[in-house]
Amino acid sequence: MGVLQDVSEQIRKDGVVGFSLKQLDTFITRVTTGMNWNDLRALARGDEPRRPNPRLQVHSESFVFHIKPSYYHESVTKLTHTFRLGLLSTYFFFLEIITGVFLMIFYAPTPERAYGDMLKIMSGVPFGEFMRDIHRLAAEGMVIVVTLHMVRTFLTGSYKKPRQFTWLTGVILLLATLFMSFSGYLLPWDQLAYWAVTIGTSMADKAPPPAVGNAAKLLLLGAPSIGANGLLRFYLLHVLFVPLLIVFVFFVHYYKVVRVGISLPASEEEVGQDTAKRVPADKRRYYLPDIFTDEMMVLGVVTFVLLAMIVFNIYPGAPLEHHANPNKTPLHTEAPWYFLWIQGLLKLGDPTLMGVILPTLVFAFLAIIPYIDFNPSRRAKDRRVAISLFMVALAGFVVLTWMGTPHFLVESPPAEEVVQLMLPEEKAGPVRQTEWYKLTVGEWDTRSDNATASFELQKLMHHYAHLIEEEHAKALEKGLEGLPNGYGKMIIEDWQPGLKKVTMRVFWTGKDGTEQTFEKSFYIHEEAGYARH
């Protein structure tokens, strides 16, 4: 009864409104672990806190805030000092978890269901395609951001004493991020997934000695080639094992970051000095409100840009090719762009050396950089060797990435290449992107003016002729015979209601003077929706 009496007495004293406001204030103070309404207002206005500072209490009371330092050195809080890349890496990881859990609801990792589930996510789940696009874009964003984070740390020499171990855990996080992307690649169970991962796991197979390589591959796939077991294992690695590893290593990494502080600019701090930890009172920038609001703003703007890129089709959307088919090797198999450099290396020689030993050495070298770099200075002018080395590595990365694309050292018959460019096995290509109704039924020839064809089809035929010339020229450059006297036909037939059959036929004169042909047929449905994308 005492409580009720207390309450009624207070209401009598403050009135109903006053009493409610007081209760609300108490509630706010509890939620914010120590800050009342006036404290929050002062925080938002940038006013000085009252004494004792309630903003510091948040850091000791709240789990989320206790992870963050309560203040930073002024010099490290400029956007251009870290570009908030570490924060963004972490943020992308959590974004991946949220969108990933959404996708998991509608997905089963079996060869019978996986691809059909992808189709259902995209056609039958509200926001399904949106979530998948965010998941994919944020994954690629995470690879970029984590890499840039490392580049920034290298260029400012921040990995040096006492932050060597922080760097080492960072390299593990980079590897884990790459493996997350790679393992996620297989899950849609389409041609893209199947063949990119086939290349990837064939590298595991090449690890020396052969017994170890074979065991590694068997362990990863549960079978000699990718199948139900491999899909399940990749799925578990993707949704369970590697994320847990990342969470663990992340906390080790971040604990070190907080423990030794973010490195100051090289001009203000010598290697081994503990300046970041002992921040003079006048150089302190408090997490609440300064850094907190910085972070809110950066994350808000980045997320908005990310979503806008998807909504306004600046990002073309996560791809989905045909169902995985072990019996049908695509003309070109391309690794995801961040692994193209390894594909480039693979083209240069022995797969064991180029695909396994060399990349392993690269990452091992990355990991031990802080332990073998005895240069006591962090200033760029004293680090000519290190920075030159970085430049060489960057150039090598760019060149190898280019070499990883089909432009380099991939020789497919030019006629096949022409057809692939007109009507690729996967993706849209110019013929499918032409409006279905404009594909006039008939037999069309690049040597004639095709006067009765639609204007769009005439343009296509010009393009066709142009491609034949171009591939011929390219083949001649490589010293091959190419497509002498080459011309092409496109035969378009009505096949079914709403379905046309398009036969591409390329003719050229062979070495022995006889006419050679290459032919491939495709079916195009008016509702297939390639023209829109």
């Binding site: 409100p289 979503l307 096949w495 079914q496």
Partner: protein, 269 residues
């Protein structure tokens, strides 16, 4: 940066902007999902067409018109109207097609002597479940052709090229060859390989010497009218078998069509 308010306002606008984008996506979701569904159904038909051409056209004909004595027509109004009743199937036409493709037809029935193989991987065949669904989508798409006739806005059905009355007999013969589904077993000479019956490539060269005492023309004519008169030893899948080719072309073909067909086959050198 001291101006906390600017940062908070920017964050607020970013969040509002995000909410707006999500609403924008949500508003279009219904239409987008419907489009996607149509896209994927269309692509299933595309895939099915390729699978059909590769695996089914050999017996059911390139356009699914069936081959007498080998396999029934799927591209026919009867298939869509009365087939289920004929066989006493309780489920949908799709389920009938899918299970037939999957498990095959172990017993040849009636005029169709050939058995249908088990195409599904489940039964030891080459096709995955999704491929069977796709090929069923392709077969079911023929139905529109027969519904379209009655519909207000008909989709133009594929029209077979009509034969010009005064055309060259070889041209007519080639058209007969296509219309009768000869290609289903013998392939399209020099374009598509034979699947069941012997290849006809170079037929004109050997026809005169195959059976002693028969001229090339006689041999070809006899082989069409009475296929069992002489059985070619080698077919694509092993020794050729008697009774596989229909024996009623004498009734199906008009004398002019038969002549034209022979003329066409005589050009296959």
């Amino acid at each position: 940066m001291r101006n906390i308010m600017v940062k908070l306002t920017t964050s607020l606008f970013a969040v509002l902007g995000m909410a707006l984008l999500v609403v924008l996506v949500g508003a279009g979701e219904e239409a987008r999902m419907a489009t996607r569904e149509a896209n994927f159904e269309a692509r299933a038909i595309e895939n099915g067409a390729a699978i059909f051409a590769e695996n089914c056209a050999g017996c059911h004909g390139i356009q699914g018109k069936g081959i007498p004595g080998v396999a029934p027509a799927l591209n026919s109004p009867e298939f869509f109207k009365t087939r289920l009743q004929e066989v006493g199937w309780q489920g949908s036409l799709r389920s009938f097609i899918e299970s037939t493709v999957n498990a095959g037809r172990p017993v040849g029935s009636g005029q169709y002597s050939a058995k249908m193989a088990t195409w599904g991987q489940e039964y030891g065949g080459p096709l995955r479940p999704d491929q069977i669904r796709d090929v069923a989508s392709f077969i079911l798409n023929w139905e529109k052709q027969y519904v379209a006739v009655a519909a207000a806005t008909p989709t133009p059905a594929p029209t077979p090229t009509p034969l010009p009355p005064d055309a060259d007999p070889v041209t007519i013969g080639k058209a007969v060859y296509q219309a009768q589904g000869c290609a289903g077993c013998h392939g399209v000479p020099y374009q598509a390989p034979a699947v069941v019956g012997p290849s006809l490539e170079g037929l004109a060269n050997r026809a005169g010497t195959t059976v002693a005492g028969q001229s090339a023309e006689d041999y070809i004519r006899t082989s069409i009218l009475n296929p069992n008169a002489y059985i070619v030893p080698q077919c694509p899948t092993g020794p050729c078998q008697a009774n596989l080719m229909p024996q009623n072309y004498g009734q199906i073909l008009s004398p002019q069509e038969l002549d034209a067909l022979v003329q066409y086959l005589l050009t296959l050198k």
